[in-house]
């Protein structure tokens, strides 16, 4: 290809040898696609499993330049994969489908695909896909300022302006550029003048993301504008554009989570049974753990803080979720959600059940729960569920009361944040009766420890059931949360499992979960008895249940926000749907809690528990 020649002159032959990962469950299509790509002289890796693809991508982020994926796949929805890749690895993803419905294409674009091709794919279309890689690099370069990739792209970029050699290149790309730019811009990317700034490429580390989330939370998801976020974050060398594009992604994530959250809520409800167990177990243990947590990580706090109110919560989609991997549902984690809808209980229960695969690592043990519950508390925007009241009595959270804010961000889309092995499952269960730990934020290991947290707030359910248990649960959750959060740290990118933001959530959630749990417990316990006890959680503020989903990760990365959590700003992360699913008994209280949380100033419905965010 002449274009290739032009482009690759002098440089490493790009696009020849561009590393593409092709994913399609249909073997015929995959064979065809692979062959076509190889014919274009790309270096191709094929797989029929989305999960395998993710694994490969996570193993080594620099192994591939581009991903092409089918939309309809049995093991994972193509859009989900798309999201993950976009958030975690920031690689260009092209969607493929036999279905060219405008709606689907739109969905692909909004999920961040840089192109959408119809099957059967022709070789001509594939010959130009390298432009997406270049474009992205160019964009990154503009944003970050530095050329981290010694790719010929830079040559190309520079050349784009040049007429001579790159004339052809320019022309060829022009048409597509327009389209692509639209997509790009849509992603919130402010296209800077390429040659203007050479800033170092921004990597959204867990820490950075945490700050981001905290800033967003503080401002309120609706009011969060890049400029203000930037100011709040106060990070050197970060530009408004960086923040803007990150915010865009975040918003998409939250949106998605909220959809998932609903589903998860349902799931959580199903899991609810597990919760009760948790409560029991958690009660004491959880607390104990907290102490250990006391040291709590900054992460936790940060996580909470950064928990963007709405967004994060949204992430928590999995209500129970934090840990619920892939649990769609809002139902799952309700910890935090209490606000939202009375579902919180459901969520919690769901959370519990969720702890799928999460190892019940004694997250609690390790995790110093210093989640900054305080911070969470203020997240007004988020309705954090996470604001776990600093259960004083339970005080699991030493110090920070961070639980309070533990907004457990549910992992929305993903079933509990890919609780990968690292998953720190907040499962308090490890301590106690495992079941409880639903809150455990399943930390997804992806690297972001945080992200892995899928706080499964099992607590939710339990809370409802057992008064006493609930208390314990809450603690459990809290503890777990803390731990999980800790584990999660890392980059935001790691949200391996479905919800890229999971890690965030996890962390955040861990703490909140506890509080949430506690809170939940309280709520559940109509008698206030528990409630009072846990009241100390006050720091948590209105039932800051740890909505696992809402656990805000201070890490910033994992937003695991639970959609419901975000209610505060009206951003219900979790989908309010679960209302119905609330635990009947305490539904009322939970609901109240939820509302209370939303406002953060109301008393909790729970028997007068004014968990207000005393944080």
């Amino acid at each position: 290809m002449t274009v290739e020649q032009i482009v690759s002159e002098g440089k490493d032959q790009f696009p020849i040898g561009m590393r593409v990962l092709a994913v399609d469950d249909d073997p015929t299509c995959l064979l065809l696609l692979g062959t076509l790509l190889r014919r274009c002289q790309y270096h191709v890796t094929t797989t029929s499993q989305a999960k395998t693809a993710l694994k490969m991508l996570r193993e080594n982020k620099n192994k591939f330049d581009l991903v092409i994926s089918d939309v309809h796949m049995p093991d994972m929805d193509g859009f989900k994969l798309l999201e993950h890749v976009g958030l975690e690895m920031d690689l260009p993803v092209i969607m493929l489908s036999a279905n060219g419905d405008t709606k689907l294409v739109m969905k692909g674009i909004t999920h961040g695909a840089c192109d959408y091709l119809l099957k059967p794919v022709r070789i001509e279309e594939l010959q130009n896909i390298w432009q997406h890689v270049v474009r992205r690099k160019k964009k990154d370069r503009c944003n970050s300022g530095s050329k981290d990739k010694p790719h010929p792209d830079s040559g190309e970029d520079a050349g784009i302006g040049n007429v001579d050699n790159n004339g052809k290149l320019n022309k060829k790309r022009k048409d597509q550029n327009e389209d692509e730019d639209d997509e790009r811009d849509e992603n919130g990317h402010d296209n800077e003048d390429p040659s203007a700034q050479k800033k170092p490429r921004v990597v959204w580390s867990v820490e950075l993301h945490r700050k981001f989330v905290a800033a967003v939370n503080q401002l309120g998801i609706d009011k969060a504008v890049p400029k203000k976020i930037l100011e709040l974050m106060n990070v050197e060398k970060l530009t408004r554009e960086n923040v803007a594009s990150h915010l865009q992604k975040f918003r998409l994530y939250l949106k998605r989570i909220s959809c998932v959250a609903n589903q998860q809520a349902n799931m959580a409800a199903a899991l609810g049974t597990a919760d009760s167990a948790y409560l029991r177990m958690g009660s004491l243990n959880g607390l104990g753990n907290f102490h250990t947590l006391a040291g709590s990580d900054q992460l936790h706090n940060a996580a909470f803080r950064s928990f963007p109110p709405s967004g994060v919560l949204g992430r928590l989609n999995t209500p129970a979720g934090l840990g619920i991997r892939g649990l769609p549902s809002p139902g799952t984690f309700q910890l935090g959600h209490v606000q939202n809808s009375g579902n919180p209980t459901n969520d919690l229960s769901k959370l519990q059940s969720f702890v799928p695969g999460n190892h019940n690592t004694n997250i609690l043990q390790g995790m110093p729960m210093s989640l900054e519950l305080d911070r969470l508390q203020h997240n007004k925007s988020v309705g954090h569920i996470g604001e776990l009241p600093t259960t004083d009595s339970t005080t699991v959270f030493p110090g920070s009361g961070s639980l309070v804010d533990a907004r457990i961000t549910g992992f929305s889309n993903n079933p509990l944040l890919g609780v990968t092995s690292n998953s720190l499952m907040l499962e308090g269960s490890s301590q106690q009766a495992t079941s409880h730990t639903s809150v455990s934020a399943i930390g997804f290991q992806n690297g972001n420890a945080l992200s892995d947290f899928t706080l499964i707030a099992p607590a939710s359910n339990q809370l409802q059931d057992s008064k006493a248990d609930s208390q314990g649960q809450a603690s459990l959750i809290n503890c777990n949360a803390g731990q999980i959060i800790r584990s999660a740290p890392q980059e935001w990118n790691a949200p391996r499992k479905d919800a890229p933001y999971q890690s965030h959530a996890l962390i955040n959630s861990s703490i909140p979960i506890n509080s949430a749990m506690i809170q939940l417990g309280q709520c559940l316990d109509r008698n206030n008895s528990i409630f009072h006890r846990t009241t100390d959680l006050d720091s948590v503020g209105p039932l800051n249940f740890v909505d696992p989903l809402s656990i805000k990760h201070s890490e910033g990365d994992n937003y695991i926000m639970e959609p419901s959590v975000i209610e505060k700003e009206g951003y219900l992360m979790f989908q309010p749907r679960p209302h119905g699913s609330h635990v009947p008994d305490n539904t009322g209280s939970l609901k109240d809690l939820a509302s209370a949380m939303m406002k953060q100033e109301d008393d909790f419905g729970c028997n007068g528990y004014s968990l207000r965010t005393s944080i």
């Binding site: 249909d26 015929t28 065809l32 062959t35 076509l36 014919r39 489908s97 279905n99 099957k119």
Partner: protein
């Protein structure tokens, strides 16, 4: 050469497959990928298609036996099948798939079942024709087929 008549026969077979609407341009795209490294590429893909799609056909059959019909599931299965079929350029099969999906969307059970029967017929017919075609092509030699004018 004794190959010439065979080549001619192959050429005419191929032409009729296109003329009669069994295959579309996508099949030509596949042929373009034939080279020294992949001399039997088209045959490989088609073989793979028939093997894999048999599973889909079976699932569709089963799904069509249920009462009441789950249209959304049927639609999903057919979507996959359609994607596969379009990859090899199976034109008539693809048309039936599209029709089937229309019936699914409108909830027309009778239409679905009828269309599916038709689809299976087309699917089987194409398979036979392609088998014959490839057999002949193999006799002539792989590259010969690749060099056939489009």
């Amino acid at each position: 050469m004794e190959r010439n008549p065979m080549r001619r026969q192959l050429a005419s077979m191929r032409k009729s497959l296109f003329d009669q609407g069994y295959l579309d341009e996508q099949f030509m795209e596949l042929e373009q990928l034939l080279d020294d490294a992949n001399p039997n590429f088209v045959e490989e893909v088609v073989t793979l298609y028939y093997r894999d799609s048999a599973r889909l056909i079976l699932n569709l059959d089963r799904a069509l036996e249920r009462r009441p019909l789950d249209f959304s599931k049927l639609d999903g299965l057919m979507h996959q099948f359609k994607g596969s079929s379009s990859s090899i350029g199976a034109k008539k099969v693809k048309a039936e798939s599209t029709l089937f999906r229309e019936y699914c969307k409108s909830g027309n059970a009778e239409g679905c079942m009828r269309t599916f029967q038709q689809l299976k017929k087309e699917y089987a017919t194409l398979r036979k024709k392609l088998e014959t075609y490839f057999q002949l092509a193999r006799q002539i030699g792989p590259m010969e087929s690749a060099n056939r004018p489009k």
